[in-house]
């Protein structure tokens, strides 16, 4: 298992003034696994993502990403290099597509670096040299692959902002995959999806895990998604890790139940809740 290690978070702490958003968090995410981070609102889940993708510089801790070419420290990497050198891609809770560009352009712009390398400061692009033409063809192929994969092929020439909501979510995932990441961070990809779209999303994420062999890090509130597809669940509460394990174990962890349902002063669940939980553990 150790050679499968993709992301290692060690003693990550993030403070904003007096507020401790993340407190000494350590966990490991592996290749070919979906690692879910769950927790009540304000638990610090998105902050973890922001640390991973260079939005924040962690107050303490170490973030090691072992991509193909050996381990790299994420917290020491400049923002835009994180995806270029380390291969971390990300989607957002509130979708951030380039709404003024077409669906296809959104996917091609994500491959900017490869194209830029081929384009000799755009001169080759301007004069349509072969070297650039080849790189562009490759980029279009990759875009096409992900369009098919996400069922957006027929929308390729649409303005990204005009897509229906569910398709925008999928496009964001497709765009992130065009970066060819080794770690894909998804911030609530199922938010606002209807049950059918949510089921399709599950299939998409599973196929990304199985076919691309990358690691996925998933923040999600929708427990049906988390329990069905994740291999490994980490539960945060007030910035602290309170549980870590496979979905089944986490689901039955008393600390997790307490965090979600609240706790009484005397550390006991209200009787009716305790009863419900005992009668139907799947209600969680």
């Amino acid at each position: 298992m150790t050679d499968n290690k993709l992301l290692e978070v060690e003693h990550l702490t993030m403070r904003f003034g007096g507020l401790v958003a993340i407190d000494d968090l350590s966990f490991t995410a592996r290749k070919r696994e979906i690692t879910a981070i769950i927790g009540p609102n304000g638990a610090g889940k998105t902050t973890v993502f922001n640390c991973l993708t260079g939005f924040y510089v962690p107050t303490e801790g170490r973030l090691t990403l072992s991509a193909n070419d050996g381990p790299r420290l994420l917290e020491r990497t400049e923002g835009f290099r994180i995806s270029r050198n380390n291969g971390v891609a990300r989607t957002f809770q509130n979708i951030r597509l380039f709404t003024g560009m077409t669906v296809l352009e959104n996917l091609v712009v994500a491959q900017h670096n490869r194209l830029m390398d081929a384009s000799l400061f755009s001169l080759a692009g301007l004069f349509n040299l072969k070297r650039y033409a080849n790189a562009e063809k490759e980029a279009l192929e990759r875009a096409k692959f992900w369009l098919n994969k996400t069922g957006l092929y027929e929308f390729a020439d649409w303005n990204a902002g005009n897509l229906p909501y569910g398709n925008q979510r999928r496009l964001e995932i497709a765009r992130a995959m065009c970066v060819e990441p080794s770690l894909l961070c998804l911030d609530e990809p199922a938010a606002g999806l209807n049950p059918r779209e949510s089921a399709e999303l599950n299939l998409l994420l599973q196929s990304i895990r199985d076919e691309q062999g990358i690691g996925l890090l998933l923040i999600e509130h929708d427990m049906s998604v988390v329990m069905q597809i994740s291999d490994h669940v980490i539960v945060l509460d007030y910035g602290k890790k309170i549980a870590d394990g496979n979905p089944e174990a986490v689901k039955n962890d008393p600390a997790v139940i307490r965090a979600y349902l609240g706790e009484e002063e005397d550390d006991e669940l209200p009787p009716e809740v305790a009863q419900d939980l005992h009668l139907d553990p799947k209600a969680q």
């Binding site: 993708t53 260079g54 939005f55 923002g79 835009f80 290099r81 994180i82 995806s83 270029r84 891609a89 990300r90 957002f92 951030r96 380039f98 709404t99 003024g100 560009m101 352009e105 091609v108 712009v109 994500a110 900017h112 670096n113 194209l115 830029m116 384009s119 400061f121 755009s122 692009g125 301007l126 562009e136 902002g161 765009r175 970066v179």
Partner: protein, 307 residues
């Protein structure tokens, strides 16, 4: 109605408009990508004019000014390169450190930069008007009428054709190449563009360089067309090109060109048929009207808040 006179004004207006358009592109591209008005852009244009004049004088001293195409090419290339360096430097020194600061900071910095560059050239080159001998002489008489001959000078042809070519090249660059896509991506969401691995700082620098290169072409054309320049030409031309960019819809590349042409035509027709003294009033009157009734310009899109 004297059609010959009308045609002559049309030609003059298009020539002037092409020059405004070239400068306006710099405003519009920079506004598009970082949302600020680069008030030093007029000065960049003025620097372009000076560099082309200096290059010409060097060519003359070196004795190669007789070979006209070579001289013109050298003037164009040298002034484009030198001016690009200024454009890059202005962004690097005056704007980048202020990125992420409040909006007004960059604007104030831009005005400061503009004053600095003006004074720098005034001190370095002197305040007197610099003459330039006409290099491209002659023209075609398009139409002869009893009291007026319509002239289309070769210089005007060069200006219009060169502007058209540069427009096509830059539009292709923005629409088709990876650099252009990256610029449009940065325009919409810089953070996201960075996350996709685009070097945002470099993309912004490139935008300034492109704008400066186009402005320097405009500067060189003006030097050759009017034959006189001074350190102060950047101010009025800059404000007019800015008006053109706003009129066309700031942030829109074809809009800048259209706005430039319209401003050129308005100025030329106003001077030709009404009073030449009030031509600037007419131009800026247009700016006021546009800002009141159509603040997003002719080809720009109104900003719609999406919920």
């Amino acid at each position: 109605m004297d059609w010959a006179y009308f045609l002559q004004q049309l030609i003059n207006g298009l020539t002037l408009g092409a020059i405004y358009g070239l400068i306006a592109i710099g405003y519009t591209m920079v506004y598009g990508i970082i949302g600020m008005i680069n008030f030093a852009h007029g000065e960049i244009y003025m620097l372009g004019a000076f560099h082309s004049l200096i290059t010409f004088l060097i060519c003359q001293a070196a004795g190669i000014s007789g070979i006209l195409p070579l001289t013109l090419l050298l003037m164009l290339v040298v002034s484009m390169v030198m001016t690009s360096v200024y454009g890059w430097g202005v962004e690097r020194i005056a704007y980048r450190p202020l990125r992420g600061s409040f909006r007004l900071a960059a604007l104030i910095s831009a005005i400061g930069m503009s004053i600095f560059l003006q004074n720098f050239v005034q001190i370095a080159q002197g305040a007197r008007v610099k003459p330039m001998q006409p290099l491209i002489k002659g023209g075609i008489t398009l139409m002869e009428s009893p009291n007026f001959n319509v002239q289309l000078s070769y210089m005007q042809i060069v200006i219009i054709v060169l502007t058209f070519v540069l427009m096509v090249v830059f539009s292709t660059l923005i629409a088709k190449t990876s650099l252009g896509r990256a610029q449009r991506a940065c325009e919409q969401d810089r953070t996201m563009a960075g996350l996709l691995g685009i070097n945002v700082d470099r993309t912004i620098s490139t935008t300034f360089v492109m704008g400066a290169a186009l402005a320097s072409v405009a500067g060189m054309m003006v030097t050759l067309y009017y034959g006189v320049i001074d350190f102060y030409i950047g101010f009025l031309a800059g404000v007019k090109a800015f008006t053109a960019a706003v009129l066309g819809g700031i942030g829109s590349l074809p809009g800048a060109m259209l706005g430039g042409l319209l401003i050129g035509l308005i100025e030329s027709f106003w001077s030709g048929y009404l009073t030449i003294e009030y031509k600037d009033v007419a131009t800026f009157g247009i700016l006021v009207l546009v800002l009141i009734f159509r603040p997003w310009g002719l080809l720009g899109k109104p900003e719609v808040e999406k919920v």
